[in-house]
Each structure stands twice: as structure tokens, then as C-alpha cells.
Symmetry: none
Subunit: 418 residues, 2 copies
């Protein structure tokens, strides 16, 4: 079933913003077995947008449009939709009330530009997720149109919660297509490619996809078959074969993020965690607290960016720092123990390293990182060398540290001393 995506906004055609909305939508649709034949971005330009929408009517069965639903003069998607699909605009009472509630809660007075947000093409059906921006859908000549907000978080939420499920219900007759994603960490891109050669010809009709997503590597397995059950069973068998080859590196199946995996395991095992971050500067805590409900297991932590903070707040001894340096196994282990004791958590996780671009030395070049983990019984640490620029080193360090917690909670023998 073919469809297309239209994204509207001057920020796209001027190159101020990369079009990640169409990337996201295309990925979700493709993973669901729906096919995207074209992605068009136009500015906030009535003629260009109307033309794109009209053209979509000629070749597509579904059309996803994002952007231009706000209150400013630039936001004219409703008007464009009305014009391209030849439907008059009307004031949608329900939408008007949503807009009014929203702005009044913010203490903003209602105004004509805000009222304009409730002018919808006739026949529009509102999509209104709780507590978020609205979109709307329309059906014309058996083509399904979805108009979504341009804010990526809102667009993604509506896409996942409304659009994809509805399209699947509409278009999915047998055969069915299912995709499974395995997320890997700790294995090189080229090593993954080598391993996959071994699977060639042994996985039936399963189509593999391979996506480096720094510092992770994602593998997709897509299969089309007569029914849900047979496809799922076949994917189970292939997943098992893949896990035989790369099992220890698989940290998640599906969309789960590393921090969500760690959070889920901490909940399941009823453990609490605290962090002591030097070179990551707060990124590990940030990622952990991106997960709703993380206060159940995350006690907090210390960003010990200076030597002084390592001593004063974490209790690292000045002698350790002067003898071994701030970037050392001894320091990272004292950091992990220190934060665990001070925050009364079951586990204490610590990182220290050189994120660069300055601060490297011969025996400890930029990218040198120590990870440490303390539990009630013992403290372990290991030295790593990461590559790339400052933000990449921070990101890789944070993923490695979180992966330590995952492995520890899984009793994974890969971890030193576990």
C-alpha cells in the first residue's frame, strides 16, 4: 500500500532544520509494511503546499502532512487542505474549546490568530491525544490524509498512537509484514557485517537491515507471510540464530532505549542506583531521568567535574588523586563507592575520563575512560578507549556505563569481577 509524506515549513526549505519528521514517519510506516513512495518538503507557501497535496492525491493511498498547524500567519495547513481537497473551512467547536482550554491554562487571552487554529476543513476528524497538540484526519476518494503538528515529539506520539495503527487496520490484509529490531552495543560495525555473512541464505525469506546508530548498531529482520503467527514464529527462530552469534551484545528488542532497559531491570530486581559522573557531566543522570517513573530506582548522583568535588562530596582521597590521577581505576572505584554510600543506593556507578579535545597525554590520550561499579559486596572497574569528538565520547561513555548496570543485573559474565 503506497503513500507519501509532505512536510511544511520554511525552516525545512531554508535548511535551518533537518527534516527528521519525515525520516521518523517513513521509518515507522516502512517497519509496518507500508510503503512510502515520495517525501516532499515545501516552505510555508500556499501555492507549493497546495500543489504537493494535489499531486499526492494522484498517486497515493495515504498522505501524512506535518507542520503548519500553529497560530501564526505562517501556519496555513488547514487552509491549504481545504483548498487542495475542495472542502470549505468551518469553525470546529471541539477544537476551539481545546485551544481555549490550552491557552487559558497558560494565562494567554484568546485572540483571532488563536481562533484560527480551530478553522478546519469540512469532514475533518480531530486527533486529540490527552494533554498534547492536536492533529486531524480526512478521507477523500478513499485516500486517507493525516495532518500532524510539526513539533517532533508531538508528531511522533500521534504517529505511533493513531496513524500507524489506523493504517494497519485499513490496509493490512494477508499477507502480513512484521519487523523486529535488535539493538546491539559493544560490537564493532565491521564485526557485525562479518557475522551477518554467516547468516546469508540461512534465514529463509527474512530480510536483514543493518543500521549503525552511534554508538549502537541496530539490526532489523523483516518478514512477510500468510499470518501473524507463522511470521512471528519464523522471526523467533531467526532471532535465536542471531542471538547465537551476537547474543551478549543485544541489549534490547524493539524500541526500548538502553536507559529504559536499565530502569526496567532495576525495578524487576528491586535495586536502586546512584551515579558519580566526571567526563559525562550529567548525561548518565539525564538519560536515566528521561524515563518516566525513574525516581523509583534512581537516587540521584554527583557531577564531580572538579578534583575538589571528587574529594569534598564523594570522599575520594587526595592521595588517590595525587598518586593515580583523576582518570584512573583507583579514582573511579572510590567515586563509585563514595556515591553508593552517600546516597544509600544498592549500586554506585561512576565514570571518569578525558572527553577532549584538550587534556590528553601520552599514556592517557583523549578518549581514555574508566567505568566503575560498586555493589554491597565489591567494586569493579575497567579502562576503555573511545574515539570521536567530545560529544561522541560522552555519549559512548554513558552508554557503556548504563550497559554495565544492565550486564550486572543480568549476571552477565562479560563484566570484570561479576
Amino acid at each position: 500500500m503506497h503513500g507519501e509524506i509532505i512536510t511544511i515549513g520554511n525552516e525545512l526549505t531554508s535548511g535551518r532544520t533537518a527534516d527528521l519528521n519525515s525520516w521518523y514517519a517513513a521509518g515507522r510506516l516502512t517497519a509496518s509494511g507500508l510503503s512510502v513512495i515520495r517525501i516532499t518538503s515545501v516552505g510555508d507557501d500556499e501555492i507549493m503546499a497546495t500543489e504537493a497535496l494535489r499531486r499526492a492525491c494522484e498517486s497515493s493511498r495515504f498522505v501524512i502532512v506535518t507542520g503548519g498547524l500553529g497560530s501564526t500567519q505562517d501556519d496555513m495547513t488547514c487552509k491549504i487542505a481545504a483548498e487542495a481537497l475542495k472542502r470549505p473551512l468551518y469553525l470546529d467547536r471541539q477544537m476551539l474549546q481545546k485551544v481555549r482550554q490550552y491557552v487559558e491554562a497558560k494565562g494567554i487571552p484568546m485572540s483571532p490568530p488563536l481562533e484560527k487554529m480551530a478553522l478546519m476543513p469540512e469532514g475533518a476528524r480531530m486527533i486529540h491525544p490527552k494533554g498534547a497538540a492536536c492533529g486531524f484526519s480526512l478521507v477523500q476518494n478513499d485516500i486517507h490524509f493525516y495532518f500532524l503538528p510539526g513539533v517532533p515529539e508531538e508528531m511522533r506520539y500521534i504517529m505511533d498512537a493513531f496513524v500507524v495503527p489506523e493504517l494497519l487496520k485499513l490496509y493490512e490484509s494477508p499477507p502480513v509484514t512484521r519487523q523486529r529490531i535488535l539493538k546491539l552495543y559493544g560490537i564493532d560495525e565491521s564485526a557485525v557485517a562479518e557475522i551477518f555473512k554467516k547468516l546469508e541464505g540461512k534465514a529463509g525469506n527474512v530480510v536483514f537491515g543493518f543500521y549503525p546508530r552511534y554508538p549502537e548498531n541496530h539490526i532489523t529482520m523483516t518478514l512477510r507471510g500468510a499470518d501473524e503467527r507463522s511470521v512471528t514464529e519464523a522471526l523467533d527462530r531467526v532471532e535465536e540464530a542471531v542471538r547465537c552469534l551476537v547474543g551478549p551484545y543485544v541489549f534490547a528488542v524493539g524500541d526500548e532505549e538502553m536507559e529504559e532497559v536499565v530502569g526496567r531491570l532495576l525495578c524487576e530486581k528491586k535495586r536502586t542506583l546512584s551515579v558519580a559522573e566526571s567526563c559525562t557531566g550529567g548525561l548518565i543522570g539525564h538519560r536515566l531521568t528521561n524515563v518516566a517513573g525513574s525516581s523509583a530506582y534512581f537516587q540521584g548522583g554527583v557531577i564531580s567535574y572538579s578534583n575538589e568535588s571528587k574529594v569534598r562530596i564523594l570522599g575520594v582521597t587526595p592521595k588517590t588523586l595525587s598518586t593515580y590521577g583523576a582518570v584512573s581505576a583507583q579514582t573511579v572505584e572510590e567515586m563509585a563507592q563514595g556515591v553508593r554510600e552517600r546516597l544509600h543506593s544498592d549500586l554506585g556507578l561512576a565514570v571518569t575520563g578525558i572527553a577532549g579535545p584538550e587534556g590528553g597525554a601520552n599514556e592517557k590520550p583523549v578518549g581514555t575512560v574508566f567505568v566503575g561499579l560498586a555493589d554491597p559486596a565489591k567494586t569493579v572497574s575497567r579502562r576503555y578507549r573511545f574515539w570521536g569528538r567530545r560529544k561522541q565520547i560522552k555519549l559512548n561513555t554513558s552508554t557503556m556505563a548504563l550497559d554495565w548496570v544492565r550486564r550486572h543485573l543480568n549476571g552477565d559474565p562479560f563484566l570484570p569481577g561479576v
Copy 2:
């Protein structure tokens, strides 16, 4: 001068790869005063690609095409170009030799699929940067077509070294176009739009662009003129007029990020900073340490996610917590003072709030946030209400907190008690 961009590849329509080529090209063209009216991505599909190219002929003066120039079966851009522009393919001897040199250097034998790479549409002019992949250009009906490789590094190089200079030579009559970006924070999107109405007709030929970049708002001012000096002076005058209207909200000119502005000011004023983060969970520290050299002014901080950590590490009194709650002015002020004293920094910055989705209450709903700042003389705080989902509330809170430091260091009277 209007043009458009067409990107070709299944990886784009399947959502495997975000289309950063068109983003890059659009940014370079716009910054050079050329206007992009449409970006189209299609798969490796002859019909869709040919149609996109034909349509471009109807509305554009220049067309940038990327992708599909390789040797695999999927790569059919030359064929598509020949068909859409009705020019026969011929074997380009020069291109054939380039291909042969390239593959032989890599130790690969020449083969028919490789020879296919030298089949070019009649009239094509090769673009062959030294030691890199080739592209080609074509002129038809006064429309300039550029066909570039899809590999981002190669595409960017050819774009900068060949395409933009050539287009500027062709189309730039009064020779210069300059763009200036102002970044605003703390002012609503609709308020910015209102204010901009006041500037209409008062800014000569300056073209304004307005880009919400949550939680910031960016304004671009683009001007074309006879020479660098007159354009720069005109932009200076317009910037001054804009600052009269929204000055206190402008935190940066150009590409500088909020955390870079804060870092620069801390360096200039020779002050140090520490942070106590509750609802942001480490994000403020993460942003501050994304800036190279931040260890010169950032002492570190405490992620006081639990009440216990607020008491044990920051010295918030249990009585404050029980009387006013963890999300209160009293608590955030004690957090700011506590981290400042414990980390021996000049400034102590603190946030506490409810990022949701759970944890809201009637008098303190989700999105309620307190920001506090302590300096040697006094401690101030203020209550805010942010909107959106968990990650948006975290992001907005971190930007507000960083903006407090910026305003404080600038002696901005907007800040309470400064």
C-alpha cells in the same frame, strides 16, 4: 532565484537514513541568498524520479539532485536524467577513465556495472574534484541541473566547491547576500509573531525568517545588497530595531548555543558555577560540559533526585522539605546555597520541579518548576509553569536555568532580586 532539491534513494523513503543532504544543500543555498522552494525525496524508482525531475523543470531555475550515481543496479540517476531531459546516453571517455583509475587503485577489476557509471546524458559536464567521487551538471532551457553523489561528505564537498560558487556567479547580480540569526528565549511564539508585525515595512528589503526551535525561537534577517559593507550596516540597523522590541530575550547572535553563551560569560567575568538538579536529572550539567574547556568554570554539581539526597548531600533541612515540599521556593534556594557552598563556586544554580507524567497535584501540576540562583550576596528563586511532555519540560527547565546565569552575569534587571 528559485530552485529545488531532489534526493534519490530507498534508504530515504524507507526512513533508514535521515535526509541530511537536502538539509545541507538547502542551508548553503539559503545562506547564499538563493531560495529553495521544494525538496523531494524518492526511492530508487525510475518513474517517481523521472516525474520529480520533470516537475522541477516547470518551476525551478536550478535543480540539485543527489544519489543514484554509483555502480549498483539501484543507481540509475544518469538514465533518469537522460529520460526526463530527453537526451540520449553516451559513453563519456573522460568519466570512464576516472572510474577505471579509481577501481584499479583499489585493486578491483573493471566490469560492465562499473562501465555503466560512465554512461552520461548528452551535454553533461563532469564535476570531478581531485581524489573524490564525480558528479555532473547540465543546462537545459536555462535551468541548471547538478547531479551529485549521495555520500554526504562527497556531496558537501562538491556543493561548496562547485555548485554554490557557480550558482552565485550565474545569479548574483548585486553581489552579496548576508544572513544574521538572532536566538530568543523566554518569549512565546505568538508574541514574537505579534512583535514582528510592527517591523513590517520598516526594515527596507530585509527578509525576516522565524523558526521555533523548542524551547527557543530563532529569527533570521537576510539582506541582498551592493557590497558587504552596506549590507552589514543595514543589518546592524535592523538588528538594533529588533533588539528595541525583543532585546531582553535575545541570548545569542549566530550559531552560539545557550550553554556556550553561559560558558563565555563565566570565562569573561571569571566566575565559577555549580548546579543542583532535581527534575532535570543532570541535563544542565550535560549541556554545560558539552562545551570544550568547561572545566575552567564548571565545578560540577549534585543530581538530587531523591529527598534524601537533597538533605544528605546538599544540606536542605528536613523541616523545609516537610513544611514546603521538595518542589518549592524554599527548597530550591537551599539547594542553590548548598551546592554553592559545598562546591566552593561563585554561583550555585538549582532546579526542582515535576517533569511528569505522574506526580502532579492541584496546586502543583505537572510542569511546575522552581529555579534558584545563589551568589555570595543573596539567593533568589522563582516559580514557573512549563508545558509539554517529560523531555520537553526537562529541556525547557534546563534552558531557563542557564538563561538565569546569563542574565545574572549580564546584570539583567529581568531576574528577580538582581
